[in-house]
Amino acid sequence: MSGRYKESIAAKIFITSCALFFIGLTVVLPLCTVFYFAFKDGFEVYINALTTKESISAIKLTLLVGVVALLLNSIFGIAIAWAIGKFDFAFKRWLVAVIDLPFTISPVIAGMVFILLFGGSGVFGELCRELDIKIVFSTTGIILATVFVTLPFVARSLISLMSTQGREEEEAAATLGAGFWVMFWKVTLPSIKWALLYGAVLCFARAIGDFGAVTVVAGPLRTVTIEIFDLYNEYKTAEAFAVASVLTMVALVALAAKKSIEKYHSLNRGER
């Protein structure tokens, strides 16, 4: 009669059916809906919806935005994680909290702040006009808004790993005369590569799926999510779901990647 508390069979059945019912209703059913409606009118409609001029340019724009946001936030993530993970300094906890801010801020606000800064009547609006730079309602604005909402992912994943790793290995390398870059490439990077990939997967998935932030700054431009929104509002349900199914497949791949990194490289931090 040792071990964990064993609930009765009835309780076991109740808990399990609640869990399965809930996941079935909230997650599995919507997933099935996406694929059902995407292929309902046949494969031809599906392919046509994905190969319209609008869809292709939306996919191109979204990929560009996703890649740029990923690159910028990876560089930032590595830099800030190096400072936070390997050094002790004042106000560190505050800094970590600020990095988390974009998670709690509504994506709509993430988009609007750049209108307030760079829009026609914004703080730097005059400057942008003089220099002839267009930020709001352009690709640059979309990238800025996306970078804002995806800023924490890589940083968070790396900070939690590098804080627990300690600095003995790097210190040994430095003592033996390795310069910064040699040390970084040969010692640090190999030890953080999975955490980096983990953060990168989450960052990219979130970047291409963002809607709230980009919808505010996009103007006439259409990312894939905006394309879905427009198609759905024009009652082109099959087309909307066809485009949505592509994003869903990317999300499924990202999820599989996330889970396998967690499993095989014992990373289960940096959620969200």
Binding site: I15, V108, L117, L202, Y232
Partner: protein, 279 residues
């Protein structure tokens, strides 16, 4: 007393450059933009800020946003407990699939979730038609807003509760049952007191996420002012009408709510024994 040290000495290079770049990046992308938001909100004076931030329409929107988020977080807390219990204690075929499905709302773009849920819950949809028979309007109603917010909040409770349930020492439960405690007593007097901080922190995280949600709600809510208009949607509407100060006022209120949640989750995270970094 511990003396205040700005930075401890270290043999490693690169501190100045990495922290400097990191701070520059954060200032450029987060702090300066948010300062611009605050400046815009109080641009026309404090009175006009209050007027736009707490107009009748805005207050109705806050009520909906906070009310529906609260209900959604509550539903997630209950079912999240069931899922966490199953994931932490049972071994069965396909467990890793269930585990992955829990994270789906993190990965699935909100716009995709939005159209899928709207289609399901509309009166001619699979669930909507069933609800219609019992007199509930699924989509374009308060109910619909809650449905979307439940979806986005699914992972939070599970992700905080599973580690807490796994870390619960076996001895405690053993001792309780050896001393003759009944099942419900072990549950309510031993297990729940040990995990409640994790539970509350999952609740707060899913609540906070729901309050700011836009993408999935905008499809299913119907967006009727005073009825099914959430706070982030008013911001978008005001921006489209070039009413920047009004939009910024409402956004500033939302921002303060976010900051409150950030402090609260940080506090709960520390009570759970984690540092802010590996929550």
């Amino acid at each position: 007393m511990k003396s205040f040290v700005l930075k401890k000495h270290s043999a490693l290079p690169g501190f100045g450059v990495s922290l400097g770049f990191g701070l520059f990046y954060i200032c450029l992308l987060i702090l300066i933009p948010l300062a611009a938001l605050a400046a815009q909100a109080v641009d026309g004076g404090f009175d006009s800020f209050l007027q736009s931030a707490f107009s009748e329409r805005a207050i109705e929107a806050y009520k909906l946003s906070f009310g529906a988020s609260f209900i959604a977080a509550f539903i997630n807390a209950f079912f999240g407990f069931c899922i966490s219990w199953v994931l932490a204690r049972y071994e069965f075929f396909g467990k890793s699939i269930l585990d992955a499905l829990v994270d789906m709302p993190f990965a699935l773009p909100t716009a995709v979730a939005g159209i899928a849920l709207t289609t399901l819950y509309a009166t001619d949809g699979l669930i909507g038609s069933l609800l219609d028979k019992v007199g509930i309007q699924g989509a374009f109603s308060y109910f619909g807003v809650v449905v979307a917010l439940v979806f986005v909040g699914v992972p939070f409770t599970v992700r905080t509760l599973v580690p807490a349930l796994k870390e619960l020492p076996i001895e405690v439960e053993e001792a309780a049952s050896t001393l003759g405690a009944k099942g419900y007593q072990i549950m309510f007097k031993v297990i729940i007191p040990a995990i409640w901080i994790a539970w509350v922190s999952g609740f707060v995280l899913s609540f906070a996420r729901a309050v700011g949600e836009y993408g999935s709600v905008v499809f299913i809510s119907g967006n009727l002012p005073f009825k099914t208009e959430i706070a982030p949607l008013i911001i978008v509407t005001k921006l489209e009408q070039y009413e920047y100060s009004q939009a910024a006022s409402i956004a500033l209120v939302m921002l303060f709510v976010s900051l409150f949640f950030l402090v609260l989750t940080d506090y709960l995270g520390r009570k759970l024994g984690n540092t802010g970094a590996d929550r």
